[in-house]
């Protein structure tokens, strides 16, 4: 009986290994990956190399180019408008991260409590603004921010008991442009980041809480001893992606400010400045230099964040 049973098995396995050696399995993965590789070489690698080269030229549209060496980068250092763009972008990134993430975390903690009813509804409601692209949000909020009649002014004037005037010119007053952008981005992204925090909280090992409870930890101690370490990788991921996303801000202020940078360039961001230089003025070289400066800054900032949160250690 035994020998009869083993024979067919050995036949199939030898057939399978034969097919593994000389059959399509060997080249199939390369074939399946080839579209990606091809597209990456043409539309990824080539433009990367080319933009490094291009950043050493002054250009006028895609046809004329003049070699200037590192002059584009040197000019960036003295370019007053670029300075404004960098400052605005950093201010935006700072506030959007330090207001957004604690709010997202707080909402996620509330929704993660055991007795909450309607969790699905709240998650859906909080997330829904994120379905809209920045352009559509921009169009909507230009009208919500209208002085005198706009819903936003009416609302905060009512909440503040008339302390904040109903004719506040959010998008016309240079001092208020950035707050208006930050408020809008809070509306868009608090729920989005909350979804990540909530998923991380739901994945925390419940036994750890039991153990903490046995040790007599109160809920605040539980949060710092169990919750925070458990969600650290996700929290770092959200922190880094939210920061990188806000450093690339463009559409929202561009549309809010009527396809421009706002009064006194109060809403000018780095990517907007890149876009203006490359595609309004036509200097693709200068635009590339701005792009590389941004990429370098983004790399440095995310490395610092990963180091500070110690996420690499937690993973190891």
């Amino acid at each position: 009986m035994k020998s009869v049973a083993t024979t067919p098995v050995s036949v199939t396995s030898s057939r399978a290994s034969a097919s593994l050696r000389n059959r399509p399995q060997r080249w199939a993965p390369y074939l399946f990956l080839s579209p990606y590789v091809l597209l990456f070489l043409i539309f990824g690698l080539y433009p990367i190399v080319k933009s490094l080269i291009l950043s050493l030229y002054v250009t006028n549209g895609p046809k004329d180019a003049l070699f200037v060496g590192l002059a584009n980068y040197a000019f960036l250092l003295h370019d007053h408008d670029f300075g404004t763009a960098v400052w605005n972008t950093i201010v935006y990134a700072f506030w959007s991260v330090f207001l957004q993430l604690p709010l997202s975390m707080g909402l996620a903690l509330l929704l993660n409590t055991k007795w909450v009813r309607g969790r699905e509804f709240f998650r859906l409601a909080f997330f829904s603004p994120n379905l809209l692209g920045q352009v559509f949000v921009g169009v909507l909020f230009t009208i919500l921010y209208q002085p005198q009649f706009g819903l936003f002014n009416r609302f905060i004037s009512w909440v503040s008991g008339g302390l904040i005037p109903v004719d506040t010119k959010w998008l016309q007053d240079p001092a208020l442009v950035m707050p208006a952008i930050i408020i809008t981005s809070l509306w868009m992204y608090v729920g989005f980041n909350m979804v990540y925090f909530l998923a991380a909280l739901q994945a925390v090992d419940q036994d750890l809480y039991e153990a903490a409870l046995v040790d007599g930890a109160n809920s605040v101690q539980q949060f710092f001893a169990v919750t925070l370490p458990s969600i650290k990788p996700v929290a770092t991921f959200v922190l880094v992606t939210a920061t990188l996303g806000s450093l690339q801000l463009f559409e929202l202020p561009y549309i809010l400010l009527g396809n421009g940078s706002g009064p006194k360039n109060a809403g000018l961001t780095i990517v907007m400045y890149l876009y203006n230089n490359g595609f309004q003025t036509g200097d693709l070289g200068y635009a590339s230099a701005i792009g590389w400066t941004l990429a370098f800054g983004m790399l440095i900032i995310s490395l610092i964040q990963v180091r500070l949160t110690g996420a690499t250690k937690a993973n190891a």
Partner: protein, 277 residues
């Protein structure tokens, strides 16, 4: 079992906080819907909805008569749907290769993909434009679709999802003489339907809402997608609020509708890389 009053108070407070944020999230949508049905005289006279007798479809009529708005809708639908199909196919195919084959150079592919994620798109905006200009693809839909035909995010997503497909199944299909592509297409892919749904929605939203690259690439009105069309309308008709709101509402309805259908899969797909990784 009696609950202490302080706990009741705490719970009421938490529900109040949650409800407040939910209202703040949803009120702009309500206002938007209401605004599209109000005449320009009424738009600010009534905070939300005007009385039934004053409701009007005039904004929608203005939208399609003063602007080639339907053209924008058709372009957006075409570009987004075509983009989803192309991205789904190439990304899942590459993801399958990484998930289910052992082959020399596999590590290099992972490194390549990670490296390409590190460089933000704006860096290559200028040379990409120059490249497409030379390829005569400026102001064409092909110029929009081809460079983005594979999504690295999608490859990672499918790599992760397809690892759960049992090897025995693939092996059995091979023994039955099924070729490698048919195994991918007819056996493996149908097993990860929820992930396909999630990816389609994520990719659709990305394409539907995308503005920077399309606005750089597309110059003529007949090729505009909704974000470009709407962004131009903001400056052209800056005081026609009702019409702008009608345009905005029509632009977001498809994404919202798709989201309601695929909600669960979407959130699972969004967080799968971050949470289990």
């Amino acid at each position: 079992m009696a609950i202490r009053p302080s706990i009741v108070l705490l719970r009421v407070g938490m529900y109040l906080a949650l409800s407040l944020v939910a209202c703040l999230s949803l009120i702009p949508f309500v206002w938007l819907v209401a605004a599209t049905f109000k005449s320009s005289g009424d738009i600010f006279s009534y905070t939300f909805f005007a009385p039934l007798s004053r409701l009007t479809l005039g904004n929608y009529k203005d939208l399609v008569t003063t602007e080639p708005f339907l053209r924008y809708v058709i372009n957006s639908v075409f570009v987004s749907c075509a983009g989803v199909v192309v991205q789904l196919f190439f990304s899942s195919l590459a993801g399958y290769a990484l998930a289910k084959y052992q082959f020399p150079g596999k590590k290099a592919f992972y490194l390549l993909m990670l490296a390409s994620l590190m460089i933000p798109g704006q860096v290559t905006l200028a040379p990409s434009y120059e490249l497409l200009y030379r390829m005569h693809l400026v102001d064409t839909f092909a110029g929009l679709l081809i460079p983005g035909a594979v999504s690295v995010f999608g490859i990672f997503l499918f790599d992760r999802a397809l690892q759960q497909v049992p090897d025995e199944l693939i092996q059995a299909a091979r023994i039955d003489g099924c070729n490698e592509f048919r195994i991918y297409y007819e056996i493996v892919m149908p097993m990860v339907r929820p992930m396909i749904g999630a990816f389609c929605l994520i990719s659709f939203m990305g394409m539907w809402n995308s503005f920077l690259w399309p606005t750089v690439l597309l110059h003529s009105k007949e090729h505009f997608t909704l974000p470009i069309g709407l962004s131009q309308m903001v400056t052209l008709y800056s005081s026609q609020y009702g019409m702008l709101m009608a345009g905005t509402l029509l632009s977001i309805v498809p994404v919202v509708a798709l989201f309601f259908v695929l909600q669960k899969e979407f959130i699972a797909g969004l967080t799968s890389g971050a949470v289990k990784g």
